[in-house]
Symmetry: C2
């Protein structure tokens, strides 16, 4: 893992043992698709990060500095750029030091393999409802870890998660769209779930509706795809016993639009 | 902060940047009161840690090694010994490497000042219900961080947290007991909250009942105290507008029993 670490505006060489991201998951992160050393959706990722920092009352490092450091670390490559931001150090106890300089870390990872026909399961682990954290890509991710462990146990590609009332919310690391009665629908994120950057792009560029969805709605959908900012639009081929044997032209149309909007996804379509 | 770090059985000098405690809060911790270099309740803390590791399917380091390292780090002192245990390193993505050696870290902190008359508030931040994580002292603590921020904003000593349905669960860093109709009662932890080691001791040694409690039950109680394994039994003097002007003999009796069971709390009573 190629990595750079900073405390406030200064480079550092190690994670502090008293880092509050390590102690309490008091952190936010963004995972971005890089294309030839650029981050085409940097602005959208920073908008979400800034929103998260405001809601957690965490200071945000200088955005131009983070961008320059990310570009330097990428050094022209394709790949995945992960940015983690924590509250920084602090004394023992839950109350944070609001004046501590934030810790931030950049790391570059290889692109995941292209996938065009996901096998997906229903996870047993549910998402708890927490209005104060909904939508944020924060560092409290044990629910996703437990659900991802379920997914790997059966060698599926992804898993769908519901809230305690049974509403469908998202996959473990992706948002979800279903084609129902001729229109794309995606779950409302009122009390749990992460408001993905790719979901945001789709809501702005596709004819899609935010609504509440039950598992039966997904089973009855004409098409289903998962999406995130690293992997793009991923058609679901199988959801437990339900099979969608063909990738619908409505999905291909969205993938084409995405490839025009973000050149990283154009390259991945060529490779497939 | 005096600190020692280990990966599996080997000492290390830094937190790995890919540590999954840092990435996702995939961790557990125990905070123990040390007395003259000893940890009188080590066994109870290890029982909870082992239970947490089993539920998260995380490997547990050798308990005797952890104990010896903790004793060495304490070097005869009084204080607070914190043990953090994480999944260790891993690739990007929520699915953990089940074979990764666990990272663990010991740190020694000064004892908090003795408190005998807490001023407590009701926090607005609620605790989300998550049956897969209830009871564990895991590293996903943003709810407590947000609630502790509320507490500090009004310069209170602690804050009580409710679940989404309004049931009283706990304080931000302590469990809660209320004297109602002549008997100690403490909230059931069926879907949220941490099952504290001190709470466990009280349930074993006091005539106490686990039940569901509403805010009105607390306001109407004849006495209320908070408790944790570092600070012992802390009488509540004020809860928003409600005042308990005297510390009841029932609380003093429990504090005396505690001082006999754990010599660290005997010393703190002498100091008060």
């Amino acid at each position: 893992m190629t990595v750079r670490m900073f405390l406030g505006s200064e480079p550092v060489t190690a994670v502090a043992p008293d880092d509050r991201g390590l102690a309490y998951g008091e952190s936010l992160f963004e995972t971005m698709r890089a294309h030839r050393g650029t981050l085409p959706w940097w602005t959208a990722h920073m908008a979400r990060l800034r929103h998260g920092a405001e809601r957690l009352a965490m200071p945000l490092p200088d955005v131009a500095h983070m961008h320059a450091a990310a570009r330097e670390l990428l050094d022209g490559a394709d790949g995945v750029l992960k940015l983690q931001l924590t509250r920084g150090g602090g004394v023992r106890g839950y109350a944070p030091d609001m004046d501590a300089p934030p810790f931030w870390m950049l790391s570059v990872h290889s692109l995941p393999p292209h996938a065009d026909a996901l096998a997906v399961i229903w996870c047993e682990t549910t998402l708890a409802s927490q209005p104060r954290l909904v939508g944020l890509k924060h560092g409290n991710r044990l629910e996703q870890v437990l659900a991802a462990t379920e997914v790997r146990a059966v060698q599926a590609n992804e898993g769908l998660m519901r809230d305690a009332a049974g509403n469908v919310i998202a996959a473990t690391s992706a948002n979800l769209f279903a084609l129902i009665d001729g229109r794309w629908q995606t779950p409302a994120l009122d009390a749990c779930g992460v408001a993905g950057v790719m979901r945001g792009w789709l809501l702005a560029h596709a004819d899609a509706q935010v609504t509440s969805l039950a598992p039966d709605d997904i089973d009855g959908a004409d098409a289903v795809f998962l999406c995130n900012a690293v992997r793009g639009i991923l058609p679901v081929r199988r959801l437990d016993a339900r099979v969608w044997s063909q990738v619908r032209p409505e999905i291909r149309a969205l993938q084409s639009a995405l490839a025009q909007a973000h050149p990283g996804f154009d390259a991945s379509m060529e490779a497939s």
